[in-house]
Subunit: 209 residues, 2 copies
């Protein structure tokens, strides 16, 4: 695996907490390479928004302000909504069946609370859907949003009902794609993400009456 992937994994798995200093020599020793590839990896992750580097002062794991998390889901709802729409417009029956297969597997693992498998299948599903849309810029825009340390722990804060709802959303999205119904696909995807946001952040403040 490449240095940048190794380093991204380290950060995403929480080995380095947000705000933690990322010394070049320390990382080089940890990863068993010299400083040069480490530096290049840091620059890439900087562009991905995962680390912040100040000139002559080194790199730190980016700390996404709490308020940003709301925006992340707003953005994902809009961007992945578009992805779902485009996927529904162009997907073949085989494509939709493959998505459906992933969704079914995800639901089974969710019932057994096998979180690692759920993580993986969820990533497969969303990436597969984006790939169906076919546009590289769309995938590009999303990658920066999904590579966020907080999102990796998403399922940890789901209760049983939320988990079941999330799994069912995947099934429904696959159905909408199979039906070739862009409006339906986008709507479910948006519901899916707003539901996840609610589970993560709790109920939104409503206007006092």
């Amino acid at each position: 695996m490449s240095v940048v992937d190794d380093l991204r994994d380290l950060i995403l798995r929480g080995r380095y907490a947000p705000g933690a200093r990322l010394g070049e020599v320390e990382l080089a020793e940890t990863l068993g390479v010299s400083r040069t590839p480490v530096r290049e990896a840091l620059r890439r992750l900087q562009a991905e928004g995962l680390v912040e580097v100040v000139a002559n002062r080194g790199a730190r794991v980016a700390e996404h302000p709490a308020g940003d998390l709301e925006t992340v889901f707003e953005l994902r709802a809009r961007i992945e909504g578009l992805a779902a729409r485009q996927a529904a417009a162009v997907a073949t029956a085989e494509d939709a069946d493959r998505l459906h297969g992933i969704a079914v597997a995800l639901r089974e693992h969710a019932e057994r609370h096998d979180l690692d498998a759920v993580y993986r299948l969820n990533a497969d599903f969303h990436q597969g859907l984006v790939r169906l849309g076919g546009s590289a810029v769309l995938a590009q825009s999303l990658s920066a949003l999904i590579h966020s340390p907080v999102l990796l722990r998403t399922y940890g804060s789901f209760d049983a009902e939320a988990m079941r709802r999330s799994a069912d959303h995947h099934i429904e999205i696959a159905a909408a794609v199979r039906a070739g119904d862009p409006d339906w696909a986008e709507a479910v995807m948006r519901a899916h993400l707003f539901s996840a946001r609610a589970s993560l952040l709790g109920p939104r403040r409503r206007d006092d009456g």
Copy 2:
């Protein structure tokens, strides 16, 4: 200016066409530095989606498929639509007045077909609006989309009417922000971007009747 900014400028200004090879030694000589900072810049621009690098085979300027341009505007409409919405929700009167000032200047320069100034003011306006929204992830998501070689030539393909419309859109967005009306702001922003798309790509295919 930093190496990555220099290199980005070179690409964006068309000095290296899409698909063109980006040799490390050549860039190093052109920019007057060694290969090391060039390599780091290439990795950053790779993450930004501006260049494609294949392992052991070097970097090329990314060629965005023609179809991607449609998606770029779809995405911008959704993302900047959110930015406009958030800006309208939080902006002070001073913020809105500053936007209005930029928009007025932009309209004046547009009437004189001073394209360079229009480029700059347009960038100022959109960046200023995003900054008002306040979210770093939002700005992050947009930067990759706006740093697209094609978009730099946008105004070149505008006719007089499209130019006037674009300028008026900015004025109207500033008004919506000043009115604190998120729905209005988002709607105008979407119109603004779809209008630009139409000028760039021509009329969309409509269903044959």
